[in-house]
Symmetry: C2
Amino acid sequence: MFDPIEKLKEYVRHASVSADSKFADGMVGAQNFLTSLFKEIGFTVQSVPTALHPVIVAKRIGDKSWPHVIIYGHYDVQPADPLPLWKTPPFEPTIKGGRMYGRGTADNKGPLLAHVTAVGQLLEENPDLRLNITFVVEGEEEIGSKNFKNFLRKNKKLLDGDFIFMSDTGIPSPDQLVVTVGLRGMLAFEIELTGPKTDLHSGMNGGVLMNPLQALAELCATLHTPDGRVNIPGFYKDVVEPEKWEREQLKKAGLKKAAYQKFLGIPKFHTPPGYNPFEAIRFLPTLEFNGFSGGYQGEGTKTVIPSKASAKVTCRLVPNQTPENVKDAVFNAIKKRCPKGVTLKIHEQHVATPYVVIPPDRSNTPKHQAPRLAACFRALDEAAMEVWGKEALYLREGGSVGLIADIKTVLGLDAVMMGMFLPQDNLHAPNESFHLGVMKKGIATSKRVLGKLAAS
Amino acid sequence: MFDPIEKLKEYVRHASVSADSKFADGMVGAQNFLTSLFKEIGFTVQSVPTALHPVIVAKRIGDKSWPHVIIYGHYDVQPADPLPLWKTPPFEPTIKGGRMYGRGTADNKGPLLAHVTAVGQLLEENPDLRLNITFVVEGEEEIGSKNFKNFLRKNKKLLDGDFIFMSDTGIPSPDQLVVTVGLRGMLAFEIELTGPKTDLHSGMNGGVLMNPLQALAELCATLHTPDGRVNIPGFYKDVVEPEKWEREQLKKAGLKKAAYQKFLGIPKFHTPPGYNPFEAIRFLPTLEFNGFSGGYQGEGTKTVIPSKASAKVTCRLVPNQTPENVKDAVFNAIKKRCPKGVTLKIHEQHVATPYVVIPPDRSNTPKHQAPRLAACFRALDEAAMEVWGKEALYLREGGSVGLIADIKTVLGLDAVMMGMFLPQDNLHAPNESFHLGVMKKGIATSKRVLGKLAAS
């Protein structure tokens, strides 16, 4: 069997930046690397073309009656810029202080390689392992998985597994395994207000018309209540209260308000009543302004009344909200409240459905769950105690990962998201690194989970 | 005597763009042109250096007991960009359809030359004219008269006249003389709100803190009432109601609401109660947003909660408001209303005092007025009837011209602003031109005004 550290070095040397066509060689290099790697552990491999970067699919299929786990990962990485801030070359992996430095070490080459290593070791020890395994490794995660949903739609038969197993989420410390069981959804749009047909001189014309910037402020100011809730009728209608066990899991994570406030650098929190900040991020929807523009933004003064003003907005959604229902409620409120004297346009941008998966034996109101998914969670519970020496925590996160919702929508499959990167790993930033101790635990955990699953 | 048209052509050929050091030759050319021109009509000339472009001062001083009129103008012009939009070369004057095309023809070379021509003709006809005349022609008007206030302070003795006579304002049509008798003042500042210490991911952190963009919207939304007034205690305290004659003069100007609305391209006007749009622009103060910025402004979506958000604001002021009193009222309201959870900074920018001069024989409550200023207004009334065949209109304008307030503040002198350019003259835009019929009337009017003044 290969040495996972040496393999990871080799993998990281392929500069597979999906966003930049100058890195085409690195993309092809990473694809070829994966093909060889999967062949080395006895898998059949195919490269499935998409409109941009192909998806690598590797299979080990035995008997149809066995459980079938689909392991997801991505071989593309973020651009390394700004290069001068790197202390070691981003595509020349360097080990220091128990970490491997290099672009993509943590996101997502190291975690994927942990699973491949686990599978390789398992099969070496037990060539007759009663488990069907499919690896699906895409090349566009860092550019929004643009073609992945289409790939899923076209290749349902390739992906007829029981659930997804993956590691592209985080853990709070090298001692605590966290399984992500929920992600917020998204509704992104832009409000554009048009007043006069051209920019006007504010001396010659100021005081006779509704200034689009003023209208924007007055409109946006109606969208929240003073206590921090979203002020739109029906916005919270479909929101499901978190269950008791979820609040308890979160408490066990031991997150500290004072440390979080210091990290944010804010004088005070501003959360809706009944929720602490860690709960609000995970269990409540939001409406956030991401950008305002309009008029003059340079140095000094320009006495202009702009023709247009706009606001970029994203709503984060939680179960059981849907982008469609929230869109109706939000757009209706905005249309109704838009000040007179300007013309409103709402530009729809992307959406993502919120996602949650309830692990078994925890909910007071247990839902029907696929038995093999439940078996995977139970195997993970046991493996966490064996490898990490304490219970795994099951937490929702505040972010949105569209591909998880896409997999659920297109394939009907849930995901077991076993965290493997740390807050210190500098994802998407200079000097990204991966904790090799966590990698070792990740390999051991994955190996036990898959072994238990095969034996179940 | 010279031919004013030929002289204007020569003057316009000097590309005196004050904003761009590449046009240094044009600036010097215009200075030398003026020096020769003033010498040609018998004046003594000096070039008074400033921190950037010198001021040309030309004098014809006889007896101290005579009236002393100071004629203001500027020899610098706006940049000609974008050049491809010019139909004729901007610095090669071209006459077509009774207009001379070229950068600076209307702003301000033509109008100044009208006064110089008038003075030259007057002195040719009557070399013993009982009038002291000083021309003050600055070279930085198009870049905000940056050094002009300092020039005024240092050269009070050079400028010990009775009042200012000038033509750097507009008329609505070639048939109607308008004298500008008021300009709004200005208070410019920027509101800067800081929330978290760095930009944050709106998924990971959205819903727990006050977003600076939201705070900006909520703060700015408090600054106006629904009926279009500024919603700040004390804002209108010092505002003097326009006199009856002012509303009447405005009515005589025959401005049409429908045409103005079409020009602006707005679905409806939004003026405070009791004022039509033409009155609101001239007689009421405003608070206008000139620019919002903060967060992501590019294509698509970026899920960021920005660290900072800001708004550029200008208040236009009317008599007897002062920038200082308005600043106190506005800044106090903003400080009091700033939402919690963000830190407020107000960056002060420039200020200008509002200006108004009441022509004699019009006000129901006549104020004390310097007799020679009053004589000039009366001369202008008579000249308007003789040259234009109807009464001059005395109107305030909505814009701000800081140098007028500076002259009033530093020298204590009022200004008689005789309009000479038309809305069609394309000031500051490609294909600027000057109406030669208006120039001819301007010469005749100026000549009569100065002649009457000398005889008074």
